[in-house]
């Protein structure tokens, strides 16, 4: 096996681990959203941090839909104003992220 082929295989494995971890992180993200809805604005920074990570790694491994939805969440969490509109959009983006992650995971038999 050439070095390039070995790297491609390793990237595939790391990408699968990324999907597994992202699947586990959806629920904590949703819990943060619930706390935000209840008025805990301190959750915004953690939502932003998690979403930024998923956005960056998702793009790295070619999971474009996951990366796009995570980016939307990251941008929403950087907002200064937390209103009903933002909370509804955040909920929709989280659902889209969950679905995109599940779809990608299914293609890898997860």
């Amino acid at each position: 096996m050439s070095d390039a082929e070995r790297l491609r295989q390793q990237l595939q494995e790391i990408g699968t681990r990324f999907l597994q971890r992202t699947l586990r992180e959806i629920e904590p993200l949703d819990e943060l959203r619930r706390r935000l809805r209840a008025g805990d604005r301190s959750c915004l920074a953690e939502i932003q941090r998690l979403a930024h990570r998923i956005h960056g790694s998702g793009a790295m491994f070619g999971f474009d839909a996951i990366s796009t939805h995570a980016r939307e969440i990251e941008l929403l969490a950087s907002s200064d104003v937390v209103g009903t509109d933002l909370l509804m959009r955040l909920e929709a983006c989280l659902l889209a992220l969950k679905n995109a992650t599940a779809a990608a995971a299914a293609t890898r038999g997860l």
């Binding site: 070095d3 790297l7 390793q10 790391i14 956005h55 960056g56 790694s57 793009a59 790295m60």
Partner: protein
């Protein structure tokens, strides 16, 4: 005068998957040794000990981001001229200009191509003025 060959790199990123990808990608280049740090704070401890030829710094990290880490590294006497490359998704021209003003020698946009990262870094290294 041409710079000596690139032998040792420290890569700093809070994201473990990206750290692993960068390390694997760069180590495809024969003779290149890559160390990784998970935070700016860890880099401040490790870089003076390792004395690498080059540091690659992620921009967005919690607690101490890339620019803050660069500023702190620069305050260490022996690291004043250490070449640092920022790696970031924020690679619009005005952002790149700001990072270069802060003292980075180059900016690599994320996401990067893992198959090409080694060549990209080597090209930047070879374009640097001699020591």
């Amino acid at each position: 005068m041409k710079r000596a060959g690139l032998r040792t790199i420290v890569y700093v990123d809070d994201e473990p998957d990206i750290r692993e990808v960068v390390q694997l990608s760069l180590e495809l280049t024969e003779g290149l040794q890559v160390h990784t740090c998970e935070s700016g704070e860890q880099a401040l401890r490790m870089v003076p000990q390792l004395e690498p030829d080059l540091v690659l710094l992620d921009v967005m990290m919690p607690v101490m981001d890339g620019p803050a880490t660069l500023q702190r590294l620069r305050s260490v006497g022996s690291l004043v001229d250490l070449p640092v490359i920022f790696m970031t998704a924020k690679a619009m021209p005005q952002e790149v200009a700001r990072f270069l003003e802060l003292g980075a020698v180059a900016v690599i946009a994320k996401p990067f191509d893992p198959m090409q990262l080694g060549n990209q870094v080597l090209a930047i290294w070879e374009a640097l003025p001699g020591e």
